[in-house]
Symmetry: C2
Subunit: 192 residues, 2 copies
Amino acid sequence: MSARATTRPGGRSARVQQSVHQAVRDLEAEAGRDALTVPLIAARAGVTPSTVYRRWGDLRELLSDVAVERLRPDAPPDDRGSLRADLEAWTVQFAEEMSSTAGRMYIRDALLGDPEQGNAARCSDYAAEQLKAIGVRAAGRGEAVPDVETLLDVVVAPLMYRILFRPSDLSEAYAGRLVAAALGRTAPSPGM
Amino acid sequence: MSARATTRPGGRSARVQQSVHQAVRDLEAEAGRDALTVPLIAARAGVTPSTVYRRWGDLRELLSDVAVERLRPDAPPDDRGSLRADLEAWTVQFAEEMSSTAGRMYIRDALLGDPEQGNAARCSDYAAEQLKAIGVRAAGRGEAVPDVETLLDVVVAPLMYRILFRPSDLSEAYAGRLVAAALGRTAPSPGM
DNA sequence: CAGCCAGACGCTACTTTTTCGCGTTAGGCT
DNA sequence: AGCCTAACGCGAAAAAGTAGCGTCTGGCTG
């Protein structure tokens, strides 16, 4: 039941949501993730704690909402001229972002405070959208395009699994191997 | 820094840990996961809340420890006579257990309350051990054995990814497809 | 355009949880 | 057997979270 843009931008609800989200980001940067509490955030946002509790239920759900926003890709994937190059670039970047300390925190927060798993699903949708965009572009070039579901299984899932369950096991080479496995071993991309 | 068997069995610490863990399991069964609080658990376990806070830090870490225990496999994987059959049986069972409501809760708890990710790594180790056992058995039969790391990537990771990020997307057929992909498309197991 | 109405917020009092300091006890070790 | 450290119990204080009630915003109807 995480709260989201339920009213028009400009309304009071929207203002409250925005200032609370901003307060979370500010305090996280200033005091660190572990120092966050609902009363602290509420004070910074200029609202009363009860408002936060009513809207988000608890700190975890609020952090989950904020984390999902931060995980949203801000641009379509780079165009490197070929499916393989696009996929390799995207995968390496994705792996780097997600396996960073901050990235791992966001993923955990997003998964964590989210009984209905709506936020988790959104994270997956973000990745799927990016992969889809890469696929559409490749199809425009006349390339054979792997299924998005397959890419999620073969590229995204192993990365996430290692990030979540085996924090030490990650490297750029590994990301490259996943892409190679997804596309078949035929000729590794030039430039890599 | 999750607390674990730091002292010998029989010592006071061990008794406290055991009674607290048992209290968690009991209360979870009686009152449900959401009703759990530290004071409640402490009372049930016959210790003071401060003991729990000192030892586990907070409720999430305690639940994480308990969850990992429950995720530990209690028996080696079934022997069905061939690598493919063993792998299929194990995968289907694993998927069922992990995607159940209870299983998902345990996974989330285990991942969640664990800053250093030690418990998460242990979950992965459990799966790796089971796969390893299947592999050793297959090698004894003279079969070619896929790498455990590969199996984690191709079978376990996609299952976990879907369980965590896409709660609706799971079926037994999907589990079977993952195994087929891991072993190559050569002849699906009879009996399936 | 005025006025109504539902939803959201602020405030306050109250309950529960969490922290902290200090004295005590268990159990490992020489 | 006796010491020494780590862990526990207890109680007070601080912090977080809950609940009720009045107020206000802003969308909607007439």
